[in-house]
């Protein structure tokens, strides 16, 4: 954490010793992004059939996790509401959307992409306020990739015959997304679904509904035919109603492995097609011949980007024993320059934890980590008094048998283990029910490729980490789920591929 230093430095004499003189530290003044660009209404209804309508269920509040300020009242969609939304989606599919050519579907998606670019700043600010992530990330990472995702899939809508999965859509897709990348997860779900000719009912996470609701407005601005996109806000019950609705042809879920498991059980025996993108406990593997300064950046990016609320986070650092001390020293020094604070401050690197519930989980597992015997370290951090905050934390002396090496913490907490040989690194990396991603840091090309071959993970990042692109398929092995989002492969989930359907 950046702290002010009163260091001494000054003229060197010929032996390199420093004579003292005062040196003021470089303290960054507050650089807040203005909130005035967003217009948050006091309450929101559901977006069904192209309009905002009142839900018939109860309501709940969404708050700003950095301050606990109440932002708005959100409808909790009831089973009846979900049914209305699915009906609207079905009508839109049968009467309008399935009758449009791919080129026309493409144009709607281009419109949406364009408007997202035009309203980019507004979306970024809203995302940071509702989710807690730094404005630097929502502005520079989330929103640009959201727009790019819509552009990319718009371009597939009229080229499906070249993609290799046929050209027949599935019908109505029920989609449930998490709170860690609210608008990006929405883009990953809606863009390919619509491009392939499906209509959707999407439920955003209960702690982060606002950008989805603004997206609904964008659909209206784009003159998207009513019912093609429907947004039903709510929590677990709403999600359950949606995925078990008999008239939903396709279920797409991103979230915890636990819930994914329930969904997979619930659709058993139905003909619903399912894709799941679940949890992870990725190994970030650093060899002794890695470009160490860049590897440290990759480690930091891997677990502290987005407050560690990332399914593919590099939450286990596997460092070759011969460079472990050097890497830890560099890592701690680098962690000391991370700025934790107001998400709307443009200089903030680490924002707020998304909810009290998540903060409690992170604290619990961190306490367990200490109790299990690992050594815990965080840079000195002044945390705000309101809101949900957790300092970037690293545990050393962790072994595979520790819970913090096996369970997904979903917070800015890194567990450090060591290895001796490439084979051992692979063994440890694969020794988990998860299989979403992995990182490899070495300057040796053949070793990168060998490791990539051996690692049981859907995404392997070599000499980089947490890189996403609409053209690049993303998804997991094993209990990290099945199906891919992004790229040509991302179309498969939304087309009738099997001959028996």
């Amino acid at each position: 954490m950046m702290v002010s230093t009163s260091s001494t430095s000054g003229r060197t004499n010929s032996t390199g010793e420093r004579t003292s003189s005062t040196n003021r530290a470089f303290e960054y003044a507050p650089a807040p992004e203005s909130r005035s660009i967003v217009d948050i209404k006091p309450s929101y209804g559901l977006f069904i059939n192209g309009e905002f309508v009142d839900g018939t269920g109860t309501s709940f509040k969404t708050i700003n996790p950095a301050s606990e300020e109440v932002l708005a009242e959100i409808s909790e969609a009831s089973e009846a509401d979900v049914d209305l939304a699915v009906k609207a989606a079905r009508r839109a599919y049968t009467r309008v959307w399935s009758k449009l050519s791919g080129a026309e579907r493409a144009k709607y998606l281009y419109r949406i992409a364009r408007i997202i670019q035009e309203r980019g700043r507004e979306l970024a600010v809203l995302e940071s306020i509702d989710n807690g992530k730094p404005i630097k990330e929502s502005r520079d990472v989330d929103i640009p990739i959201v727009a790019a995702h819509f552009f990319y899939y718009a371009g597939w809508a009229d080229k499906l015959s070249h993609a290799g999965y046929g050209t027949t859509p599935l019908g109505v897709a029920g989609q449930v997304i998490p709170w860690n990348f609210p608008l990006l997860m929405l883009a990953w779900k809606i863009a390919p679904a619509l491009a392939c000719g499906n209509t959707v009912v999407l439920k955003p996470a209960e702690t982060t509904p606002l950008t989805a609701l603004l997206f609904a407005e964008i659909c209206q601005q784009a003159d998207l035919p009513p019912g093609v996109v429907n947004i039903v806000t709510g929590a677990g019950d709403t999600g359950r109603a949606l995925v078990s609705h008999p008239d939903v042809d396709k279920v797409a879920f991103t979230g915890s492995t636990d819930v994914g498991r329930h969904i997979a059980k619930a659709v058993a025996g139905s003909r619903k097609k399912v894709t799941l993108e679940l949890g992870g406990k990725a190994a970030n593997i650093v060899f002794d011949d890695a470009a160490l300064d860049q590897a440290v950046e990759g480690i930091v990016n891997g677990i502290f980007f987005n407050q560690g609320h990332v399914c593919c986070a590099g939450s286990r650092l596997l460092v070759q024993e011969s460079v472990a001390d050097e890497v830890m020293e560099k890592l701690k020094r680098r962690m000391s320059t991370l700025r934790v604070g107001d998400p709307l401050d443009k200089n903030t690197d680490i924002g707020a934890i998304n909810s009290a519930e998540q903060l409690a989980k992170i604290r619990e597992l961190s306490d367990i980590g200490e109790a299990e015997g690992s050594e815990r370290w965080s840079p000195a951090c002044e945390l705000p008094t309101t809101g949900f905050w957790f300092p970037p934390t690293v545990f050393t002396g962790v072994s595979q048998a520790h819970r913090i090496a096996r369970e997904e913490i979903f917070g800015p907490v890194l567990s450090v283990l060591t290895f001796r040989t490439p084979a051992e690194a692979v063994e440890k990396a694969n020794n988990t029910p998860f299989g979403l991603s992995a990182g490899v840091w070495t300057e040796k090309g053949s070793r990168i490729l060998w490791m990539a071959n051996q690692l049981r993970a859907g995404v392997v990042w070599a000499n980089t980490f947490n890189k996403f692109d609409p053209t690049s398929p993303f998804g997991g092995y094993k209990e990290s789920g099945y199906g891919r989002e992004g790229g040509r492969h991302g179309l498969e989930a939304y087309l009738k591929v099997e001959s028996q359907r």
């Binding site: 080129a103 493409a106 144009k107 281009y110 790019a148 552009f151 990319y152 718009a154 371009g155 597939w156 009229d158 080229k159 070249h162 993609a163 490439p422 090309g445 053949s446 070793r447 490729l449 060998w450 071959n453 609409p470 053209t471 790229g487 040509r488």
Partner: protein
């Protein structure tokens, strides 16, 4: 009293600018009724040479942009063209004498064609590239790369054919010197205006107007041109001699079609793949 209009001078479009022909020549272009529409610049071999220089200079930058970036630029060309829809409809009507409805169909198709090709920029590699399962411990990847500078003889017609031969080249990262349709050159220059205001870097597309028989041989024999699209060459003897001239540096050649093309139909991928090289990279897999 009717207002006198300010008439446009139609020059060439080279290197992002609109120079006159260095030869100082022009030729008369009449509308469908036989009335004078304008004098179009009559390009010389030196203009063609300059256009190739401009295209070559633009190639490294254009081909190294991300596919996403190129797609965004080509979408923008479509946007600007859409904004000028009425102007192009009027130009088509005057040049070809077609009805308003027919002119709209062609202009709309041209815009949509740009949008279709724009979407290919970041997908063609996924369709024609792939990893290869070689029989040994090697990583092996084939990816398409643009050939370089491509000279094009545009098909007869003011707009849709022209866009249909130019768009596939630029989305794949090639740069272009195109000889516009000799009978319908004016819209090509107006299209140059659209490109010049669409974030398209100068030199990526260069438009020459004038005599195909005079200019094409200079492009076909130019040793710094990598590809030759002969779609608009109606005379088969000329086409043969151009292809033979292109053989000197083994240009990639797209021959004239055997039957007239219906430009309203969705194209296949050959206009992109003919001017894409396949690069295959090997790397051992081992500790």
């Amino acid at each position: 009293m009717t207002r006198l209009d300010v008439r446009k001078t139609y020059k060439l479009y080279i290197g992002g600018e609109f120079p006159r022909s260095e030869s100082g020549r022009s030729y008369i272009v009449n509308d469908a009724k036989g009335n004078l529409m304008a004098n179009a610049a009559q390009a010389s071999r030196k203009d063609a040479r300059d256009a190739v220089t401009a295209a070559r200079r633009a190639f490294p930058g254009w081909s190294s942009k991300t596919a996403y970036n190129r797609a965004q630029v080509v979408y923008r060309i479509a946007e600007v063209l859409e904004g000028r829809r009425d102007q192009f409809v009027a130009e088509l009507r005057a040049a070809e004498g077609v009805t308003e409805a027919k002119a709209r169909t062609y202009v709309d198709a041209a815009i949509d064609r740009l949008v279709w090709y724009a979407g290919w920029a970041d997908k063609i590699g996924q369709v024609v590239g792939n990893a290869n399962p070689v029989a040994g411990p090697y990583f092996n990847l084939s990816t398409p790369e643009p050939s370089g500078v491509v000279a094009v003889v545009a098909p007869r017609g003011p707009l849709l054919g022209l866009i249909s031969v130019v768009a596939p080249l630029i989305v794949t990262g090639n740069t272009v010197v195109v000889i516009a349709s000799e009978a319908f050159p004016l819209t090509a220059i107006t299209l140059g205006e659209v490109m010049a205001t669409s974030d398209l870097p100068g030199g990526v597309v260069n438009v020459l107007t004038g005599s195909v028989a005079e200019i094409a041989p200079w492009l076909a024999s130019h040793m710094d041109v990598n590809g030759l699209d002969l779609t608009g060459v109606a005379d088969s003897d000329l086409a043969t001699s151009l292809e033979a001239a292109g053989a000197e540096n083994l240009k990639r050649i797209l021959r004239p079609p055997l039957a007239p093309i219906d430009w309203l139909e969705e194209p296949d991928l050959s206009r992109m793949t003919t001017f894409l090289e396949t690069k295959t990279v090997w790397h051992p897999i081992g500790l």
